[in-house]
Amino acid sequence: MRLPGAWRQAVVVLVKEFVDSCRDKRALVSVLLTVLIGPVITGFMMNRIADRQRAAEEVRIPIAGAQNAPALVEWLRQQSGVEVAPAPAAPELAVKSQDEYVVAIIPPDFAERFRASKPATIKLVADSARADTFPQVDRVRRLFAQYNAQIGSLRLVGRGVSPAVASPVVVQEVEVSTTQQRAARLLAVIPLMILLAAFTGAMQIATDSTAGERERGSLEALLINPVPRSALAVGKTMAAAVTAMIAVTLTAAICAALLRFIPLQEMGMRFRFGAQHFAGMIAAVLPMCLVTAAMQTCVATMARSFKEAQSYMGILILAPMLVGVLGTLYPIDNQPWMFGVPMLGQYVLLSSVLGGRAPSPLAFIGAAVSCVIVAMLLVRVTVALFRDERIIFGR
């Protein structure tokens, strides 16, 4: 009798595991959710930053008692992006109910005090508990301060005093967290999300087809067939790898869509996401899916139960997190050896691609080759485990 080829059997196992896991609706939904939630949250936050940036540049200032200070109101109107509006009847109520984020009140004695060079009051009604409108309120506050300084200088000059006398100290602020940087930090999350997708995507099949198979008692029945253990290990690992690749491609596609949708230019970033970036991301990460799938399948085969396997998966997923967190804390400069380390290599490649600095083809190839080698070593371990009776019968 002709024995079937081991490779063909591996494909048979792959197809069965894939179909089987696709029918597990609950697992499928949870994988989809974990894949979707990261990019969606990031996209949302990027959009908020862009919105706020836009909002802070264009402020609308409702002014009550504008007739009391026509010169000030006229000066405000001349500032770019400022719109002066009539104030609502009850300013404090309007701010409290969030109809307006700020209302300026100019009292009737403003003109009189102003003319007498006494401090003239302007009331600024704002809700400091609202973080989302802080940039606008801050801009309004700075506008008034600017007017204040200008008039003060003019008065000093009128009295023959240098305005410099009135400014013994000049505070120069160096803002570290610019909008641009905040956006860049969010962009840095994308490589991490893609690395995580390579893990979450493979997890379901890796655990269900090994620890789950044994727990259901179906492993023994499977081993009755004339199939080399290597074909089983390869088939199961590849099934996990295929789902990981699907998850990665999906995540990358969503991130790509978000990056096109978010007005990066408005945040002062000159980066324009294109098809070549998407291709670069995919080329960087797909080989790593082999490693994550092989690693998870191997560890799950070792586990004594499905639950135990799942808790191991929770530990394994810390690996890409660690790389990602270290990557954001310590900006990684591209050392050639990094491409040879699975996960770290992919992280560096992804960051370079997203940073608009295309890595050399050699870096891609090196990273892919090292992934394939590591995956093959891990599959060998899985094969050895599948040959161990203590593993098969869970003693």
Partner: protein, 244 residues
Amino acid sequence: MIDVVALEKRFGSVAAVNGVTFTAGDGRVTGLLGPNGAGKTTTLRMLYGVMRPNAGTISVDGIDAARQPLAAQARVGVLPDVYGLYPRLTAREHIRYFGELQGLDKATLAERTEELFELLDMKHIADRRAAGYSHGERTKVALARALVHRPQNVLLDEPTNGLDVMSTRAVREIVRKLRAEGRCVLFSSHVMQEVSALCDSILVVAGGRVVAHGSPDELRELGGHENLEDAFVALSGTAAGRAQ
């Protein structure tokens, strides 16, 4: 035909199978009869290649199972102790999965699947997922899966355990059919009536050894009892005593 010589399997210090020798011939039904823990399942597991013996030889149709495990496995069909069906796959998909792993081509597989549906009267569950099967239905799927590649040797581990009368009859029917086709059927059981009704020869196993073998009539004589059940108790009891 299955030939077993001096088979041994130890788990730590426990000898689960301790020198089992027998031959199960073609066109015959051979029964492994013994109390729980006698070593029946362990013996079968070594025969169908999921456990390696510590000593002894197994040959399946003349193929040495130690040297060519896959070739030997290809010649047996097995209904294991635990069926291990996949709850999300249908009966048809179960048969297809094992048929493909056995290396059947598409046409043969399709033809054989229909044949098995007919033989086991399971057309109504062909495209239903296994999650909702009754015990009898699960047994049918597991049997169909075992027979998909027309194995010359069929091993059944307690095949009628927990089955109702109708399903038990169906299983017996199939065992007789397999015998009529000239196949070698080996099945284990601890149920006396089962063994005496079906088997051409019986191996009484206790304490990891074959304590007696022969036709049902011969065993009755050997045990010195008219009733096979009494004979069995007498035979396995002395064996258990000897093992200690």
